[in-house]
Structures are given as C-alpha cells and as structure tokens.
C-alpha cells in the first residue's frame, strides 16, 4: 500500500526531528529535504508549474482544488489544506491498516517514561502469547470427560448457581460496585481476545450476570414508591427493561452454538430420487416478476420426470394461464381467495401428490442446484419435515437504498438467515419462512397442510410440525434470490403483518405451553415471537428521559453515578458479546435503526392481535415496483417527527435545567440529556430512512464476474468478463475497447451455464473507459430462459455475496449510525427550507459549501479501499 504514495510523501513519512512541519510541507511540494534555501525557493517558484510530475503531486496533495479553474472558496481551501499537510503525517502501514498519525501524539507518547512503555508492551506480548493457544485449551476443557458424569455436572450447576445469586444480589457501595465493574470489564476484555465458541459462551455468561445484576438493582433499589408519577414512569421503564433482558437471555440461548449444517448429496440411485412438486404462488404480481422464477425453476437440476412445476395463480389471470401453457408448466387456480397464500398452497397440495413440496415466492429465483443441495438431508433423516434455505435479496431494501449502505452493511435479514436460523438449527427449531424451502408432504398433510389460523402461516406450520416430533433443518447456502420490498411503506406493511402473525401464534398456539416441544424449541420459537413485540419497549426507551426532563419524574430513583455504574456495564457487556456473536451478520447499533423505524407501526397490530387474535387480515407485500422520484414519505415519518420534536423540547428544557436548576440535580440532568441526545440521533436516522431516494432502473443489476465473450459485428470475438448483469442488460469489462462500438451498435454476448454456451443479442448502451454497457435485445423465449439460467440461476450466483465486508466493531457501528442520524437532520433541514422558499433552499447548500472548505487526506492515501467486485468463477 505504501507504494501507492508519491515518492515525496515517502520522504516525508520519516519523522523529521526538527522543523518537521515545514519539511513535510516542502516534501509535499516535491522539494528534497536537504535542499538549500535557494534551491527550495527556485523549485517552488519556478520549476513547479512546468514539471508534469510536480503537477500530479499538487493534484494529489490538493484533491479538492481544481488548479485550472480556481474559485473564490479556494482562497480558504488552500491555506487550510497547507496547514493540514503540515500537521498530519501520511499514513504509516501499521498492523495491516493505514492510519493517520500526528506528531503531537508521538511527542506525548515519548513523554511517557520508557519503563512504563516497555512494561505495557511486555504485557501485550504476554497476553497475545497466552491467548494464542487458549482456544484449544478452552475447547479441551469443555470437552473433558469429567463433564460426562452427572455428579460433576450437578455440582458445577449448583456452584455456579450459588455464585450467580451472590454475584447478582449482593448490594454494593458505590466504591465496591466500581471495583466489581472494572474487574469484570478487564476480564471480558482479556477473554475477548481468545477465539472460539467456548469463550463466546463465557462472554454470554458475563453479560447475563451484569445485566441481571442491573435488573435486580433496578427492582430492588431504584423505584420510588412514594410518588405515583415516578412510580408509574419507573414501572413502565422497568417493564421495558425486563422485556429487553428476557429477549437478550433467550437470544443468547438461541444463538449459543450455531450448527452451520453442511450440504449432503442425495445418496440414492437416480431412479429412486423422490418426486418434487414446485409451487410458485402468485396473486397480484406482474408477469415480469414471475417470469424469471419460472424460467429458473424449469432449469432446476432434477430428473425431468420427477419434477413438476406449478404456478398457483390466485389472481386468475389469462395472461398467466397462457404463459404457463407456453412453457409447459402446471397452472392452477381456485374459485375463492380464502386464507390467501396458505389457502392457495393448500388447494394445490390437495391436487398434487409429489413426495416433497418446494415452495418459492413468485419473485424468488431459484438456482439450478437448489434441489440437489437441499434434498440430501431428507434422505438421511426420515423424520425431517422441513428444510429452509436463506432468503437472499439482490435488490436493496428501503433502508439500504435510502441510507446508501447496500452490501457494505448487513441488513436485517442477514442476521436472521446468517445466524439466528443457524442457532435455531442446533436446537432443532428452524422455522419455515414461507419460501425457498422444501417440505415433506406426509407430515405436512398430517398437520392439515399449511396453517391458516394466523397471517404468518409459515412459522405456525413449522411449529405444528415440530409439536408432532418432526425435525426441521436450516441450510445456510443461498440457493434462491429475490427482490427486497421497494418502498419503506411496503416494508413496514410487511413487518406489520409478520408481527401481527407472530402475536397471533403467541396467543393461539403459544410455544411456551402445549405438547410436543422441548424447552429449547420453546425458547427459540418464543423468542422469535417476543422479538416482534419490541415496539412498545422501544417507544418507552425513546421517551423515558423526557419523563424527567419535562415532568421531573425520577424514573430511576437513585444518584446519577450509580445509574452509570450499573447501566454502563449492562450495555457494554451486551454490546461486545452480541458483536462477537453477530459481528459477521450484523453491525452494532444498526438494529436500533431498523427497530426504531418499525416500533410505532407494530405496537398497535401486536397489541390488537394479543387481545383479539382473530382480527386483522392478510396483506400482500408489494414487490417489483419502482420508486420513480425522490420524495420524503412524510406520513410514514410523522410519528418520528413528533418524537423528534418532543425530544428536542426535552433537550432544551434539560439545558435550561442544567444552567438554572438546583446543583444536586446536575448529574441526573446530564445523564438524561445524554440519553435524549442519543435518542435524537437514532430518530434522525429513522427519519432519513423515510426520504425515499430515486430508483433509476427497473431491473436490478447484480454485480458478479462471469466469463463472457463479446461478438463484434465484424466477426471478431473478445474474451472478457461481466461487471454486472440484470434482466435488461449487462456491463462487460473489456481488455481493450474495439473501435467503432458506437451507441446502438448490434453485438452479441456469450455466457455459459456449466458447459453450455448461449449467445444473446444486445445493443451498446454506453461505454466508459474499458467497460461497455449493453442492453439485451432478446428475440426468442429460449433466449430469455437461457439468460436467466446463465445468470440468476447459477449455482454460485449468491455464494460470495458478502465477501469483502468487514467484521463489526461496536464503536465503528455506533459512529456510522450516529453519522446517519446527523445526516437525517441535515436532510430534514434542507427539505423544510426548500419548502419555505427557493432562496432558503439555496441557503441549505451552505453546509455542503462549508464542508468543501475542509482539508482532506491527500489522494494517494486510500481512504476506504474500494470493495472488490464480488464473485469469482
């Protein structure tokens, strides 16, 4: 990476002892450090503009200034950047990543006595040494034969129980609690360095201990029973905290040891492979959404006489009937729409007789290997009734699109499909997610087909199957991909349905009671349902500090310092533990944004469903639409705007109280101010999700490198690779740009599906650099089918989707979320100013202008390494 820097920076990189700033500055200007004064002046004033290498260096050092077209603002930009160049040392390659260092910091470090530094270094080295072999040691300890004896286990349980009770319930003075907290934290920080699942379990135990201690303290010491207002608010907050604690605890159990099941090949002779019915239910989706799914389903690798594809059209559309007939796939309709999708599937179940049923939502394009990958487990385990694979989305969900985090930050679904289902799988509690799954017909008919009592028929069906003792499995290999919900309102609609359905199951068929489940299955199902009731608690957390700031209610009746000593460890331990468990599938604090946006909308449906589970109807999630203009969904954002204003008022009152209020309340006020501030930023992020950014393309481009051949009009062929593809076109990266490829030139492109080559006619849409953008000009149905099968339905299409993504670090997650929150306020300001008048709208560009004045890193230093195009062949 160092080589990317200009030579001059290399000279400056060596810390100069005296006059460091000036030398660095000169070095950036290309002057050798040993040059005399005259040579320096000469090279600065005379030679500089004539020398192309020097000009390149200027451009690198002043990336935001266009020297050929200077503007007024550059009067400020130039000196600021010079100052920056003088103060900041270029990045040093340090432990694999580049970091900017400042000489001042180095000097401060130099002031630390040498023995102290040495001791610190020795300690670090020692720790590294100690932790390197610890994983093996920790696992050997957990595997020890001693634990197989029931006696030792009971003893161990008893001892840890007693310890836990002591740890949780002993009341401490402030000092003692401080020591306790620090010790615990240090222990966690040391242990955290050891990789392996055993240590993760240890961290979970520590997190549960601190959180339970916090809760115990909250219940026993922080409620003010004398003041009804305090008590009311306090109990409300406590209830929310108890909920969070329960979900945390159950979540730990759920994800204690993800199973990570591997693929098993179908072991039987080909003649004995079972028959599979593929169901593709549709209701109101356009044909263009359903087409690729059908094309891909036709290409599933399975004996043709044992594969039956059925399009289940609840919309009873002639167009669909004709299309299915042309393709030669089954087409089924029914005369009512009872029980929506579940009813549709049940009707189809009654009319077919395959041994297995594979279900795909009409927009989930299966890969060719789906059945081969998923059927193996059914043969191996005859009790297996359900195998679920992840739902993979190749288009951004509204969060990803509106916040610009597509593929760089994992979305909500990735946590569920990447970790939680794998965790459930250990406990034999994987549940059905409605699509991309295979079910065994026998057990399914035994429970009466797909469940119709609730609006989340999928999870309920799985629950019923498991009550009968059937097993379920999860295979974390993306074998189908679909479209995410397009707009925020559609997304919220979908989540409302899920949370209502989960609340219905909780009422009608509660997993905690009833027959047939073991305790772990109860916990996994129960937690999934409890998770959807987070709306209320979330709203309580968003408003709790206001109780003190606005109404002067002591929600937590205790000095501020005590609150810090108890709540900080609770949150910190929970965060580092969760970051360790979920880091690859979720970045810290993003869940807050996802949940905050939904909180208001799911409170009412869950409450209603809990009170009267039979109310409410099934609403279909709209997909395949196009957000055709940029707008702010004010109606969706309204609850958050209200909360935002309330929090702002609270914040202002709090500042007033800080300045003019009584002295002994300062600490509490500060604490609540901080809490409000955090809430405001999260709300800012929630509001910025509601500003829908424009979606330009109707079809979604998937970035994947595939081998391709470009056939030119003159008969020459160029071997190349794709940059991305979609149903509408593709981009090719060419080794050389052939002349004469004007817009609309007729070319064709070869793509492969295994060994089979297909050629697709296309026209040139545009070209930039070495990349050529094409628009497909498919003329025949066979070509459409082949295109889907060569691209979306490839077995390896989605495997490396999240490669190149960094593992979570809690603080980085926090920083990013807070930045999004601040951005939310900026956007809001700009929107409202533009509404007031165009002049104000222009004024709203001021912050951007001011930001452009700021100095920045010279270009040679890669700020963020660009994400490499994922997918290799």
């Amino acid at each position: 990476m160092n080589t990317a820097r200009p030579a001059a920076a290399g000279a400056a990189g060596a810390p100069a002892a005296g006059g460091g700033a000036l030398a660095r500055l000169l070095a950036w200007c290309g002057v050798a450090p040993q040059a005399t004064l005259w040579a320096t002046l000469a090279s600065l004033l005379l030679a500089r503009p004539l020398d192309p290498a020097g000009r390149a260096r200027w451009r690198a050092a002043f990336p935001h200034i266009d020297f050929s077209r200077l503007r007024a603002g550059d009067l400020l930009r130039l000196p600021l950047q010079l100052l920056w160049l003088a103060l900041a040392v270029p990045p040093q390659a340090r432990r694999g990543h580049l970091r900017w260092t400042f000489p001042a910091r180095a000097r401060w470090l130099a002031a630390v006595p040498a023995p102290l530094l040495r001791a610190g270094r020795a300690l670090r080295a020692h720790l590294r040494l100690a932790t390197s072999g610890s994983r093996r040691r920790s696992e050997r300890f957990a595997d020890h034969r001693l634990w197989d004896r029931p006696m030792t286990r009971v003893l161990a349980y008893l001892m840890s129980g007693v310890l836990a009770v002591l740890c949780i319930t002993t009341p401490f003075s402030i000092e003692a609690q401080t020591i306790f907290v620090v010790m615990f934290w240090v222990l966690a920080m040391v242990v955290r360095r050891i990789p392996g699942q055993v240590v993760t379990l240890l961290l979970m135990v520590m997190s549960v201990a601190t959180s339970t201690r916090y809760l115990w303290w909250r219940c026993s010491q922080t409620l003010n029973w004398d003041q009804w207002l305090d008590l009311w608010w306090g109990l409300l907050l406590l209830a929310a905290e108890v909920y969070t604690w329960v979900v945390l605890l159950l979540g730990y159990i759920q994800t204690a040891w993800p199973l990570r099941r591997s693929v098993v090949t179908v072991p039987l002779e080909r003649e004995q492979w079972p028959t599979v019915d593929v169901f593709i239910p549709t209701y109101n989706e356009p044909l263009s959404v359903v087409k690729p799914t059908l094309y891909a389903a036709m290409g599933l690798d399975w004996p043709a006489d044992k594969l039956r594809i059925h399009l289940l059209d609840d919309g009873r559309r002639d167009e669909f009937r004709r299309f299915a007939a042309e393709l030669g796939v089954g087409y089924m309709v029914r005369d009512d729409n009872l029980h929506a999708k579940a009813g549709n599937l049940n009707r189809a179940l009654a009319r077919t007789d395959g041994e297995f049923v594979a279900i795909f939502d009409c927009d989930h394009i299966p890969t060719r290997s789906f059945l081969q990958v998923s059927m193996g487990w059914f043969v191996r385990d005859p009790k297996l009734a359900l195998l679920q694979t992840p739902h993979h989305f190749f288009s951004p969900d509204p969060f990803e699109r509106n916040l610009g985090i597509f593929r760089s930050t994992p979305n909500e679904g990735e946590l569920f499909y990447g970790l939680i289902q794998d965790g459930n799988d250990l406990w034999n509690a994987t549940f059905f997610c409605g699509s991309c799954a295979v079910l065994r017909r026998g057990p399914l008919m035994e429970v009466g087909g797909i469940a119709v009592e609730t609006v989340t028929e999928d999870a309920h069906t799985a629950l019923k199957l498991q009550r009968l003792g059937y097993t379920s499995a999860y295979l974390n290999v993306p074998q189908a991909a679909g479209l995410a919900t397009e707009s925020l309102s559609a997304h919220i609609g979908q989540r409302i349905r899920w949370s209502r359905g989960m609340a219905q199951i909780f009422r009608l068929d509660n997993p905690f009671i009833g027959k047939g489940l073991n305790w772990a299955q109860r916990i996994c199902y129960g937690n999934a349902m409890l998770h959807f009731m987070n709306g209320g608690p979330r709203l309580v957390f968003l408003t709790a500090p206001l109780a003190f700031l606005l109404f002067h209610a002591y929600v937590i009746y205790t000095p501020a310092i005590a609150v810090l000593l108890y709540v900080l460890p609770h949150m910190a331990h929970a965060n580092i533990t969760n970051s360790r468990i979920q880091g690859a599938h979720r970045h810290s604090f993003w869940a807050e944004v996802y949940e905050t946006v939904l909180a208001w909308y799911i409170v009412r449906p869950t409450l209603v469903a809990l009170i009267d589970p039979h109310k409410g109807k099934f609403n279909v999630t709209a997909k395949g639409g196009l957000v055709d203009r940029e707008y702010r969904d004010w109606s969706i954002a309204m609850p958050y705007l209200v909360l935002m204003v309330l929090n702002m008022i609270g914040f202002a009152v709090g500042i007033g109280r800080l300045l003019w209020g009584p002295d002994d309340e300062r600490g509490t006020t500060l604490l609540n101010l901080f809490w409000t501030f955090y809430n405001m930023l999260i709300l800012g992020a929630a509001v910025s999700v509601a500003s829908e950014s424009k979606q330009i393309r109707r079809t979604h481009r998937v970035q994947l490198e595939l081998a391709a051949v470009l056939h030119l009009p003159d008969g020459k062929c160029i071997a190349c690779r794709t940059e991305d593809f979609s149903e509408g076109g593709a981009a090719l990266r060419l080794p050389l740009m052939p002349p004469g490829l004007v817009r609309d030139a007729q070319v064709s492109v070869s793509l492969w599906r295994g060994d089979n080559e297909s050629v697709f006619p296309a026209r040139v849409a545009s070209q930039a650099g070495m990349s050529l953008r094409l628009r497909w000009e498919l003329t025949e149905r066979e070509q459409e089918i082949a295109l889907i099968q060569c691209t979306f339905a490839r077995a390896d299409a989605w495997v490396s989707w999240s490669s190149g993504r960094v593992h979570d670090k809690p603080l980085r997650g926090l920083r990013k979320v807070l930045a999004v929150g601040i951005g939310g306020y900026g956007g809001l300001l700009q929107d409202s100013l533009t509404r007031v008048g165009p002049a104000f709208g222009r004024a709203s560009a001021l912050p951007a202008m001011l930001a452009s004045l700021l100095p920045r890193h010279p270009q040679a230093a890669p700020a963020h390494p660009a994400r490499s195009p994922s997918g290799k062949r």
Binding site: V709, H711, G715, K716, C720, L736, D755, E757
Partner: protein, 133 residues
C-alpha cells in the same frame, strides 16, 4: 497405412471436427478407427464453433452424447481474428491476444499439457494435421 502408423505411435489423438454434419460423421469414424488401432486416448475438438447457430449447438450436443467423455473441455470458436492473424502471417496469440480464439488456444494448450504427462507437441501437431486431411 500412414494413418494406422500414426495412430499406433500417438499419445493422444486429437480429432478436429468442423461444425458440419460431414465432419461429424468422419469424426465418429475416426473414433472407431482409433479403437481398432489399439486404443490410444482420443479427444474430439470442435472447431469453428458458433453458439449462435442452432446446428452448431446441436452438433455439440450430439458429440457429447455420441462420444461421452471424449470431448475436449474447450471448443475453438469461430473468430474472425483467427483468419486475420493467418493473413498477417502471425499466430493469433500475437495478432489478437485478447480475442476469443487466443483464449481458446491457451485453454487447449493448458489442457493438452496437463493431459499428456510429458509434452509432445510435435507429435500432437502431426496428428492434428493428419485428421484434418
């Protein structure tokens, strides 16, 4: 006689098939002939292949079905660069290194080198010419 001798001496018989029915028929006969001559390994190589033409695709499918396991893992594509390279008296690797033809030849060479334990390029070339004639 010459053919029989060459077949007996060969390490690998590379049968080049043009994308037309006549070549196809002749290729299958050559495969049978090699089986009679003491069964040196045979590889069928489809030359001048253009996946946009249905007949080419059908021939490829028929070769796969008719001589299972005998087809080389690469087809030489019909590429104008090859003819132009010949006209310029250059190899296609020099003339158009990024062309499909160059790519195919590279893949073929790599495959041949890895298939033959010891590289006997001269012998292979001789056989190639033989089966072309």
């Amino acid at each position: 006689v010459l053919q029989a001798q060459a077949l007996r001496a060969a390490d690998l018989v590379l049968v080049v098939v043009g994308p037309d029915p006549l070549s196809y028929a002749r290729a299958l006969r050559t495969v049978q002939a090699t089986a009679a001559a003491g069964a040196p390994p045979v590889a069928l190589l489809l030359n001048g292949f253009d996946a946009a033409r249905p007949l080419d695709r059908d021939l490829l499918a028929m070769l796969r079905a008719g001589a299972p396991g005998k087809l080389a893992p690469v087809q030489l594509h019909r590429d104008e660069s090859l003819r132009e390279a010949l006209a310029c008296k250059q190899s296609v690797l020099e003339f158009a290194p990024h062309s499909m033809a160059a790519h195919d030849v590279t893949v073929l060479t790599t495959w041949l080198l890895s298939t033959l334990a010891r590289p006997k390029t001269a012998a292979t070339q001789a056989e190639q010419e033989l089966s072309l004639s």
